[in-house]
Symmetry: C2
Subunit: 159 residues, 2 copies
DNA sequence: CAGATTTACCTGTAAGATACAGCTATCTGT
DNA sequence: ACAGATAGCTGTATCTTACAGGTAAATCTG
């Protein structure tokens, strides 16, 4: 199963090569899965909208810059995405009382509901996909992914 | 740390919710990382080009349709990506001797070299990011990601 | 084997995500 | 109070991708 013949013989490098392979694959499969799930019947939320609503739900209302920084996106990107979300009634913009330049973005009940529906659908999907995994393996996967994300995030934030 | 207050109390659902969260995050961070690494100095390979070259390297020369099916992409998408790769001298098209409609896509030495360079850079990057992980944890991560991808792929392929 | 169907690939068109550059309004430190 | 930083927006451009429709080749069917 190893396809790392050109990475060298260092076992550490082999493992890192495998991780690289699997993450690249996961990105592709995740995209395909998202496309297959979301777009088909629901036409509910595009990728960015979901992430923004998730973040607003978790971290509370905040302005565009904070969102952009947190999501590693350009401010202009978030501006447009927020505009679309507002058009669809999924978030609300209010002037920031503490800063005349800023606007605070909050999810609307409709937005939270839409987000929760997508989340539930995806969670259900992972339940199907991982149906034959042990609870331990699922826990370990969740833990390791969490640590991986923390490490990636720390690295991105440092640069 | 749990943010699954609205997913219910079933511990299984909690874990699945965490997995969903972490995968969504990883997709975003992975994108950001790719953008930060690849585009900056090298301007080497965009995402699709890398995936196509990886696949050609692993699975051998094949035609556009096979690539599209394997990568879960529309044929027209692969056609264009292959055209760009050909323009840049990274793949070669030859008429399929067994099928007058088809063209076989093969990586060129330049393409393989470019791909290997990106791969090495990413592997190095993961080495930095996971510098303080134990070898065991890295192995486990690689294994679980592999299994996750197999499960996702099986599911995508079934539909 | 002739006509119908399927397949492989390409092109036109369109949409979404994202970045960068440049603009205005506002804020902050000295 | 002014210079510089910051927040957000708009214009423009690129990349990725899909769907619809077209042509040519292969395959099936009676």
């Amino acid at each position: 199963m190893r396809d790392d013949h050109r990475t060298g013989t260092d076992p550490d490098a082999v493992t890192l090569g495998r991780i690289e392979t699997e993450i690249a694959l996961l990105m592709r499969l995740g995209e395909a899965t998202r496309r297959a799930t979301g777009t088909a019947e629901h036409r509910v939320l595009d990728r960015a909208a979901y992430v923004i609503l998730r973040h607003l739900d978790k971290a509370g209302p905040q302005n565009v810059s904070a969102l952009a920084a947190r999501l590693n996106l350009d401010g202009s990107t978030v501006t447009r995405q927020v505009s679309a979300l507002q058009r669809d009634g999924l978030i609300a913009r209010t002037p920031d009382p503490a800063d005349g330049r800023g606007t605070v973005i909050s999810p609307t009940p409709a937005g939270l509901q839409r987000m929760a529906a997508v989340r539930a659908a995806r969670t259900r999907l992972y339940g199907e996909i991982l149906a034959d995994w042990t609870g331990d393996d699922r826990d370990t996967l969740a833990d390791l992914l969490h640590r991986l994300n923390e490490a990636l995030d720390a690295r991105n934030r440092r640069r």
